[in-house]
Amino acid sequence: MEENKFKVTIDGIETEVAPGTTILQAARQIGPEVAPPAMCYYKPLEKSGGKCRACLVKVAQGSAKDTRAMPKLMASCITQVQDGMVVENYTNEEVVETRKGIVEFLLLNHPLDCPVCDQAGECSLQDFAFKHGTEAQRFEEERRTYEREDIGDKIQLHMNRCILCYRCVHTADQITDGRCHGVMYRGDHAEISTYISKAVDNDFSGNMIDVCPVGALTDKTFRFKNRVWFSKPVDAHRDCDKCSGKVHLWYKGDEVIRVTGRKNQWGEVDEFICNTCRFDKKETADWVIEGPAKMQRHSVLSANKYRKDAIKPEYALKHAAQNYKQIDDSRPYNKSLEEVKESEDYKALMDKNKEFKLLNK
């Protein structure tokens, strides 16, 4: 293991990361405040990323050796950091503007049926659009539509909502066997499908629901049962011979209405669970309850439920330390009136004022 670490600056905050880290991961190490959004990148899945272009950032300085800026915006989820790299994310106008465009593109053919969508409340696209998008949409054309399709008896594919992030394709490819789930057609007619309308019949197929950032793949045992923010998540585990057995149980009253994998801070499931845990074990007696699940403060899921303290001290301190230095104390209002009147700036200003008055006489 190499000891040397790369120094990266993201939005003015410096950090040190191991060589080979991507910009996105480096930003995530600093904190959620500078982390670019990711709609297609999913850390546990190999080869994911680079497709949605939501995480584009400006590389203002390639490295300490080559101080040129990269000409194009770079997809931060697949671009590796170099020593001395300077990245602009939320501080760059171009990035912010482009991201607005990406939101618009992703919502172009999205039905916006959040009121009837089971994913609402834990939808990455909702969060992304809310944080980075514009209020109005300029798309006046007809949207493309598809019929709903069943992938097996437990999963439903609602292709209208799909943003073609390829996460489920990677999931099907990497954690289930038999390649039958993929993308058909191309361009804006591209659709996720199974070959040919076959069920993905595998013990781990249910993970496609967890990885889906939108409501395109939904759990048929949970559909239309409850809004997610009315249900109460708890951490639980059980002895399972196929998977880790670590899950979130979602309660409505005393009833378990849904079982999902445990998502981390970035909405990614680190330990995939099997279909038996997900679909068949819906009694409290099947599980060992660990306690209330930790939800993100900003998420609607945490509304009226558990609340950790609202400030993240490490980030706040870091941010303050970075920005405090930049305050310029030499400005005139810190001086006495006499000092100001003596200063060159003041005289120049007065001269200009005189000229102006003469001109306007």
Binding site: K51, R53, L108, R138, Y166, V183
Partner: protein
Amino acid sequence: MAESIKILTGNFDVPGIEQLDVYRKNGGYAGLEKALKQMSPDEIVEEVKKSGVRGRGGAGFPMGMKWGFLAKPEGVPRYLVCNGDESEPGTFKDHYLMMKSPHLLIEGMIISSFALGANTSFIYVRGELMYVINILEKAIAEAKAAGLLGKNILGTGYDLELVVQPGGGAYICGEETALLESLEGKRGNPRNKPPFPAVKGLYQCPTVVNNVESISTTPWIVLNGGEEYAKVGIGRSTGTKLISASGHVKNPGVYEIELGLPVEEFIYSDQYLGGIRDGHGLKAVVAGGSSVPILPKDLILKTAAGEPRLMSYESLSDGGFASGTMLGSGGFIAMDETTCIVRNTWNFSRFYRHESCGQCSPCREGTGWMEKVLYRIEHGKGNERDIDLLVDVAKKIEGNTICPLGDAAAWPVASAIRHFRDEFEWHVKNPEAATKKGAVYQPELSLA
């Protein structure tokens, strides 16, 4: 003007040049013999670097430099892939070259593979050109029988297998990484870069992907030397280029021109296009295949600075995208005043919508959006907002995609609006007149 030098097409008019014996009688495979018997691979690469020949597929990246980037780890095979997936609207030069003189390409492939140390090389040809593939395969069989391919070529101990792979008929597979995916038998989606093909290409091995025309220059370079090649052409645009000319000209077809030829001469001289068809005048030119920006007559003949525009990489892109374009792949489309630019732009963007692979969101959604808006404008249902909307959408696609298809889709739209905005406005303001069959906007000034 004196007869210009013909590096590629010199023998094209010889009857039966697609046959091995005729090709050899006309000096064919002399370059190969010289390369294999008298030169080392590094010397060939050096000659190609000296020649300054630039990639003829569209991007114009120096070929010698590309070869120099090829990683050479021990024990890992290297591949050369020839990109014959020519699908750009307006470009048909590779098609012509492979059909006319397959042995020229095969000779180039053997020399290039030898220079790069590849023992298996691929020619990926567009699937629609099945008869060209048949010609190539026949020629390869001939070459194999004559000991020019296979084991121990010309007794030098060098082995090479040449495989012709028909594409599935997708424009996107002309993008090098999508081509490699397709060659591996997968869906033709462009890969994220880095890693570049020179490091991890076909089957995760170092790979060079070159255009048909670029590879076909190598026999001449080997025979005559890179410096000799660099003397042809102008400045950093060395050598000759095949231009496939189409549109409203008297003599459409494929021409081999020395780079640096004035555009005006190319269009109006009898040796080349012979001018615009009788009774009509030039309106606009797409100089390098449908994806490069379209230019109106006054800007294609003269640069914004008033200098005559030449057929070269530098001169055509003079003025950036504000007043310039690109040489691209050499698909020269001339349009006379009967061409409706809005309809033409819609047609192009329909192509890009159809051919987008659908992998990254700006291109997938953006190409469809632009096509729909252009359809509305062309069919009299547009409004004035739409024109600025198109400019903005094009801007948001450009540069933000995985592969250059997004740029290729955005540039024609953005440039058409930049140079022919009045025509778009006329369509929007006069929907009835504009949707009449054959109706074309005629500015009052040009009537005089």
